[in-house]
Symmetry: C2
Subunit: 119 residues, 2 copies
DNA sequence: CCAAGACATCGAGGGATGTCAATATCGATA
DNA sequence: TATCGATATTGACATCCCTCGATGTCTTGG
């Protein structure tokens, strides 16, 4: 490890390490991965991420996402921010509308970390 | 879906559905998967699971796990219970000692759900 | 410049969560 | 049976998190 973990975003961290079941996670790495899983560990955010990830264009407008839930607009905005801050979603503003798209590498790396597939 | 989701444990649920990025998760399924991710989304539990999963015999004694953390015994016991209740860890008592072992199918299914590998 | 719409931020309230000390439970052993 | 050691449970506390209403920011259109 040539660079300190402190210089990496949560998403970058998960690309650095062996699957969960191969060798014990260090406290430092575990402390970096947990926030990423926390970002995923909410039913609304799971659905948001899934809706964005499975959307035809690979991106989804906030205006569409808002309508899919029986929650206030600030609440959806908050969940999208959590996913964005963790590095799982990218954000782009075009005119009045904001579009989110997934970071496919992050999802695949996280899946490999948990599932044990070689990274 | 022939059986109601209510009849399945969290771990059984994740084997039933397409990857996150393939189609939008239903509210019902998302509500089932989130607790599983919540169980994983803690640095101590991540390390516990990793320690158990990567242990030589495929199982680990609580007595060993306790010593690996600077936390009280009830706290470790609590985290192990969360992992056990979610279905990620199996529990077996032999004499005075308790051994935990991972549910490999659960880990692999969860990884596939996130990473997008065909389930 | 002003109004309207899309989205983000702020602040607060109620519930969930991590941690500990104290205590209970269970099996082994004297 | 009495005791000891390993693990689980309970109860309490501090903190975090989800949600909302209110408000702010930015862009477009008039």
């Amino acid at each position: 490890m040539s660079k300190s973990l402190l210089e990496l975003t949560p998403v970058q961290t998960i690309a650095c390490c062996a699957p969960l079941a191969k060798e014990p996670l260090s406290a430092e790495v575990a402390g970096r991965i947990a926030p990423l899983l926390k970002a995923l560990a909410d039913p609304v955010r799971l659905r948001l991420l899934s809706m964005v990830a499975s959307h035809g264009d690979g991106e989804a407008c906030v205006c569409d996402l808002n309508d899919a839930f029986d929650l206030s607009q600030p609440t959806i905005s908050h969940h999208l921010k959590v996913l964005h801050d963790s590095g799982l979603l990218d954000r782009e503003k075009r005119g009045v509308w904001v579009y989110y798209r997934v970071n496919p590498q992050a999802l695949s790396d996280l899946g490999a970390l948990i599932g044990g597939v070689a990274g």
